[in-house]
Symmetry: C2
Subunit: 489 residues, 2 copies
């Protein structure tokens, strides 16, 4: 039998000879070039004919025998009978894709998410000022964490997260946010999306109804949809989520996702009376409120309204916070604050549902908070973002007139700019994208019958030097979108 081709050039540089022999023999067997039952040469004879060490052949034969490709007995080594293998199609095409596809339902759920990547373009929402991040201080905390790292920091995290971080965070939330919480009520997560995921999967069952704000945070809808919950869209008015009697009667919720501190994307702030009413109704309905308190750290108009979580000791409220905007998104650390009644169960279940690690980063963050760096950084950023918002408002008024309709200035890192009906926000967003801006259309966060026409203008990462040019381009985008389409006849 002629087997020279087994080691014929080209031979890959990166693989040892015996690996090449093994791979080529295997391919020949799998492709049918060597038929079942074929008797192979004895190892000594094949080694001689290929001019290689006998051990190299023995190795390949043994490996292939172990895998069931070859059978060795007293008569020698034969190609085994393998299951019939259909020939792969000639090229990638529709045939390839047959059966190779994602769940249509999952794809649909994901398509309710934001359209593209979150880049650092001017006006892109949800991006903090990367340049202002205290690299040196943070890295010093990381250094210390690495210096003391043991298996606890390198392994999986303890239930609920690093104990030092839970303690530091509880103290911080008590002082700064007025939440009287104990460390055992805190579960560290790898960010808001992971926290939403845990809530959607641990607090509700497939097929139950979850409320999302309309317009609202797209990533929350994805988490709800992927958990198999039926998403009901509740309208937002000038004060935030505004559920009507028909919502409570016709779509009784199991989960209620709400962003009371700074409704996303409109920036509305839910007043206290509404907060109390929401808790009361949720209690009656047997529903959990998921309070995403994002942006409460960057409050401008006096202290933030009290969190839903702190309002009543036994309210069915789970609180979500994140470090993505106060530090940086790539850190991937956030947290849940839970009522005593479920805290221990939730912490245990969350370990099973989402293995947490990042022990070094958790320890560094605890250090960063304990040393007061976090409070200092928040204070500094609050001033910086306030100045940035003021500058943006002035520039927008200069560009679009002093009656330009803005909302959402009480907190956070973005403004909503409302547009007249004559100017489609989608067209503005498209034109703005061409001009290098990360503007989002309010309508893309909105489901019918609600209608919103406006822009989400993130200013977190909009440096003062870029601001005027960015607003100038926005003006161009708005005028482009407002102009009647060119006559194409």
């Amino acid at each position: 039998m002629e087997l020279d081709w087994l080691l014929a050039p080209p031979l890959p540089d990166s693989l040892p000879r015996q690996r090449v022999l093994y791979l080529r023999l295997r391919d020949a067997i799998l492709s049918g070039r060597l038929m079942p039952g074929t008797l192979l040469p004895a190892s000594r004879s094949l080694a001689a004919s290929l001019n290689i060490a006998r051990n190299t052949v023995l190795f390949a034969y043994e490996q292939l025998s172990a895998e069931g490709c070859l059978i060795s007995d007293r008569q020698g080594t034969r190609v085994a009978s393998l299951p019939a293998m259909p020939m792969p199609p000639a090229a990638a095409g529709p045939a390839v894709a047959a059966g190779l596809q994602l769940s249509a339902r999952a794809l649909a759920a994901c398509q309710s998410g934001p359209p593209g990547e979150i880049a650092a373009l001017p006006f892109a929402p949800g991006t903090p000022d990367y340049a202002a991040f205290p690299f040196r201080t943070w890295r010093a905390c990381l250094e210390r964490a690495w210096r003391d790292a043991g298996w606890r920091q390198l392994g999986y995290a303890a239930h609920g997260g690093d104990p030092a971080l839970r303690a530091a965070l509880a103290a911080h939330l008590t002082t700064v946010r007025g939440l009287a919480v104990e460390p055992t009520q805190i579960v560290i997560t790898s960010g808001t999306q992971a926290a939403l995921d845990l809530c959607a999967r641990l607090l509700a069952d497939h097929g139950e109804i979850a409320w999302a704000e309309n317009p609202g945070y797209l990533a929350a809808r994805v988490a709800l949809g992927l958990a198999g919950l039926r998403v009901h869209h509740v309208p937002v008015d000038a004060e935030g989520m505004a559920a009507g009697e028909d919502d409570w009667r016709d779509h009784p919720p199991r989960l209620i996702m709400v962003t009371p501190s700074h409704q996303y994307p409109t920036g509305r702030v839910l007043p206290l009376s509404r907060r109390l009413a929401l808790i009361e109704r949720a209690r009656q309905a047997g529903a959990w409120i998921i309070e995403d308190d994002y942006d409460s750290e960057f409050r401008r108009a006096g202290p933030a309204p009290p969190a839903l979580f702190g309002l009543q000791p036994d309210a069915p409220v789970v609180y979500i916070g994140t470090f993505s905007k106060t530090l940086y998104p790539g850190l991937r650390l956030g947290y849940l604050v839970l009522p005593h009644a479920i805290a221990a169960d939730f912490a245990r279940a969350s370990v099973q549902a989402a293995r947490l690690g990042q022990g070094i980063e958790q320890r560094a963050l605890a250090d960063f908070i304990e040393r007061g760096h976090y409070t200092t950084h928040l204070r500094r950023m609050r001033a910086r973002y306030a100045a940035r918002q003021a500058a943006l408002r002035a520039a927008l008024k200069a560009e679009f007139g002093s009656d330009v309709a803005l909302s959402g200035g009480e907190a956070g890192l973005h403004l909503a700019m409302w547009l007249p009906d004559t100017c489609s926000d989608q067209r503005v967003a498209q034109a703005a994208a061409v001009l290098g801006l990360g503007v989002r259309a309010l309508s893309s966060y909105t489901r019918p019958p609600m209608r919103c026409n406006g822009l989400v203008l993130g200013y977190g990462n909009l440096a003062e030097g870029m601001l005027d040019e960015a607003v100038l381009r926005l003006g161009v985008a708005v005028r482009t979108a407002t102009a009647p389409p060119p006559d194409t006849r």
Copy 2:
């Protein structure tokens, strides 16, 4: 009206006076101490009576008005009518828990997970040798990543993960694992659990059947259960997953979770013929195979058998790999390798389903791989773990006799030690826990009608100096569990 108590001691040090005034007024309103309709003193007069600046009072009034607690008009400032508030129960108890609970179904799914935290006790499975981790080299890579960090590394990750890491990993997998993959086929995840989660949610629909190995990896069952899939347990024999005709006929799968390189926990290696047959049957059944190729890096007996993923170009196989055991679990980085047909869709959907970040760590890992440190580390650890396994085998034979039944030595970081029927593995595990060992009972990974009686002995983090003592204690635990229960008459 007497309002001196509003600023009566004790005043918290950490809060400014106006915040205390605001909080106490709010509490008084919410608790009913100040009734709806109550007219409050004018700001000037309250300021005078409390001996504070008028602005402090104005600030509190404004904030409470904004929140709907107070109403100001020409007649003055009154307490608003708020929704009726039930009194919280006197103490935490069953009443508190009413309505405040996790989904029973989610709890049940999570209870199929491993019982406790994964600690670094001797014999604990899944823990690498933390002491052998190349801290200095790794931290140098992190340093470089921090030095060059831009918004890309601090923000959310690009679709599919850091491009440099995807490229480095594709090259590594091609050379080392024989997978001819392109960077676009790789999706970085925050570890195996996140990868399993994505597969369970993106590749199947609620209510569909997913196969898990029996005995099998508990965390995979959690991911399947939480995604609402019906888990069917397929028996494992001496060669790994062994589905019978009745499994295919009566429980047609949509997903098949399999650990072919080193079946968890038995350590069996799926032979090539079974791999081919599995692909063929999965194709016929329209099922996805999820190949968890953990431990393939620590292969001892010749090269690893070919991955299911690489066996046929268009096989319905998704490949999962992780750095948890090759580097450290807390890093929380793993990856999926996907067929071309779904790679782009999957990468896009995964961004929505699980926001990825860790840009610094991803970039550092790409650097670590590109510079050859990863291959060097794997080679070093392969030798170290092989020596450790040999020492463990010798010690076990010395302690339990040379006919002690061990399996799973071909790869990985653990051995399965089978016990005679007279000795319950659960009792051994309990006794071992008392003696400070992290031994797991094989039966805890097993569902009826399968029966397994044995121990999972992780040796990844079992330093040579601890080995003899650990085996000695294991001997005590086995003898304790084997002895007839003491006569209690």
